[in-house]
Amino acid sequence: MKKFTFKAGVHLPSYKKLTVGEEIKETSIPQQVVILLSQHIGSPAQSIVSKGEKVKVGQKIGEAQGNISVSVHSSISGEVIDICPQLHPVSGKKVLSVIIKSDGQDEWIEKGKEHKDYFRLSSKEICNIIKEAGIVGLGGAAFPTHVKLSPPKDVDIVILNGVECEPYLSGDEQLMIKYPVEIIEGLKIIMQTVKASWGIVGIEDNKPRAIELMKKEIAKQPNISLKILKEKYPQGGEKQLIKALLNREVPSGGLPMDVGVLVDNVGTSFAIREAVIRGLPLVSRVVTVSGWGVFYPKNLRVRIGSSISFLIEECGGFSFVPGKVIMGGPMMGITQYNLEVPVVKGTSGILVFGQKEVKKENIRDCIRCSKCIDVCPMGLVPCMIALYAENQDWEKAKGYNLLDCIECGACVYVCPAKRPIVQYVKWAKEKLKC
């Protein structure tokens, strides 16, 4: 079978063997969850519960505000003990959140309507179900899925992203092994919603078991195909994936729908299936807890709002003195300084590294070796962007197509001068915003 890939990028040591055989396990019920009302891109949800109120699993506690927003649900049953600002693990800012103390019952609220006959539903109805179920892109960006599923342009191909190119993470792989039927059903719902004629599932060749099981399921479908990709980072970026699989190039500043494509993560597809067919809102997600600093690396199905320290406890605690804890993958994840921050909808992994593994590098001057240019998957000139940002010439940096940067970190990985290029890019983007 032909293996697809894209130009540039880096080959990373995958470290997936830490968790590769680990099936997805349910965690115990956390004592307390902190559910942020702004876990997605767009306007925060509005709290509809009050302090002291009893809530059940799946009960809506935050109402979506406006179109680019989704509802938020309680992930455990218990009592609302406070509604106050809490630290957001990704943005680092404090956002309004609902804190729920568990009663240990894990009682579900009456489930939503089941739609086994989803093909009778209109696109609008499906989008509404997805919005109410609080589903966002589970790959990490947390963009509201119902917005993505109502594109203003025609979409002919839906790509399901099972690439999982970040090292250490293996949650999507395990999800594909455990629920191949459900994921494909989810893909069919997406295809029906956007009226796409063809579906593609893209998986990297380092997941043979997932490929085998998905292949069996895909063989039953007339308009879905499986494509295998070579292992490379950042292949899971939607623009790179589209280029690799279809040789279509998303224009600068454009979206996948500009080339008639929609890309969704396998986790999102599974969540969509659960919402539409079983009427379940998004209250949990698969999180890989890995790294050498944790005793038993595992893939866990985690209630949204559980704290990082709770997950590390579930995995047997720290194996040695922790030096760095990252939420997300090692390349694009955000380092956390507070272990009480909650898991949000976009959290794909928790990585723990020991003190000895964490190096402090000195930033040196750029020597124009052009290694970053070779690896940049977007074809940018990262060294020049970083130099202009360093000298605070934001407009010049923008002239080097700063805004096209996907912040994958491949340039930082290869930089011999250890320059924090992605930080420069994020800084420049922030400065250009205001």
């Binding site: 300084y337 402090k360 930033i363 930080q423 922030e430």
Partner: protein, 270 residues
């Protein structure tokens, strides 16, 4: 032979010289003599503190009606008076003021949340989880204000900027550079400052910083002029009433109120 060369080259030189002289006269940009005068008055350091492109830019701006002619921070009162003489317009003379950094959170005084690695610039560091200091009103100490100061009046000492009052002209460029808004211009007449901006409750401030204002209110009680008030757990001095007596400074348990005795920087003394 040599005469020929001299004549030839001399001829060319004369021709071009005359040509340039003629063109220079013909295409000369007419400049307002007042503008010329103002430009001579201005210090000519092109510091940019007025907000215009160098001294020439500001000189041109001064000619306009309703223009604020008191913007030259470097020249101070003298220059403003001279400009107002030239233009025959009254100028508001600003009080001599000096930039004050409202934080004393040196290394070891204010706690860090995490070890920061990356760009050594305050506004870049402030984007990462809102800065590496425990206190959200603490100085990050990467010296962005020092880099932007056109007069070299700021230097960093153990993670806190020290401002030299002799050199500081009160231009306010550092105010815009500080991502946490910790720098304020205060008139040189006022010598007592509450060097903290934290609005947290006392207990929390104590945990985060050794020199933060805990909102205990002792200064409010001791002040003979009733110039100090507590606002959001923070002592605020009303400079219309303050007479620089310094009683609050003695009473302050965390030493967050400081009396600046000489023209040296506040932090040099403390």
């Amino acid at each position: 032979m040599i005469l020929n060369s001299i004549l030839f080259l001399g001829g060319i030189g004369l021709f071009f010289g005359l040509g340039l002289a003629f063109i220079g006269k013909k295409l000369a940009v007419k400049r307002d003599p007042t503008e010329e005068k103002i430009l001579q008055i201005l210090p000519g350091s092109n510091c940019g503190a007025c907000g215009f492109a160098g001294c020439a830019g500001y000189a041109a701006e001064c000619l306009g009606e309703n223009a604020d002619i008191g913007k030259c921070a470097l020249g101070g009162e003298k220059v403003v008076r001279q400009i107002s003489d030239v233009l025959g317009r009254e100028a508001k003379i600003k009080e001599d003021s000096v930039a004050v950094v409202f934080c004393q959170g040196k290394e070891g005084v204010s706690k860090n949340r995490f070890t920061y690695q990356g760009i050594t610039d305050c506004s870049a560091a402030n984007l990462i989880s809102e800065g590496n200091k425990e206190c959200e009103w603490a100085c990050l100490g990467f010296g962005t204000c020092m880099e932007v100061c056109p007069f070299g009046a700021i230097r960093m000492d153990e993670g806190i900027p020290l401002i030299d009052e002799e050199k500081c002209r009160g231009c306010g460029i550092c105010i815009a550079a500080c991502p946490r808004g910790l720098i304020t211009l205060i008139s040189k007449r006022h010598r007592v400052y509450v060097l903290c901006r934290s609005k947290e409750k006392g207990k929390k401030v104590r945990e985060m910083c050794k020199k933060g204002c805990i909102g205990c209110g002792l200064c409010v009680k001791v002040c003979p002029m009733e110039a100090i008030q507590l606002k959001d757990n923070l002592a605020v001095i009303d400079y219309d009433k303050c007479n620089n007596c310094g009683k609050c400074v003695e009473k302050c348990p965390t030493k967050s109120i400081v009396l600046n005795k000489s023209s040296l920087s506040v932090q040099f003394l403390s």
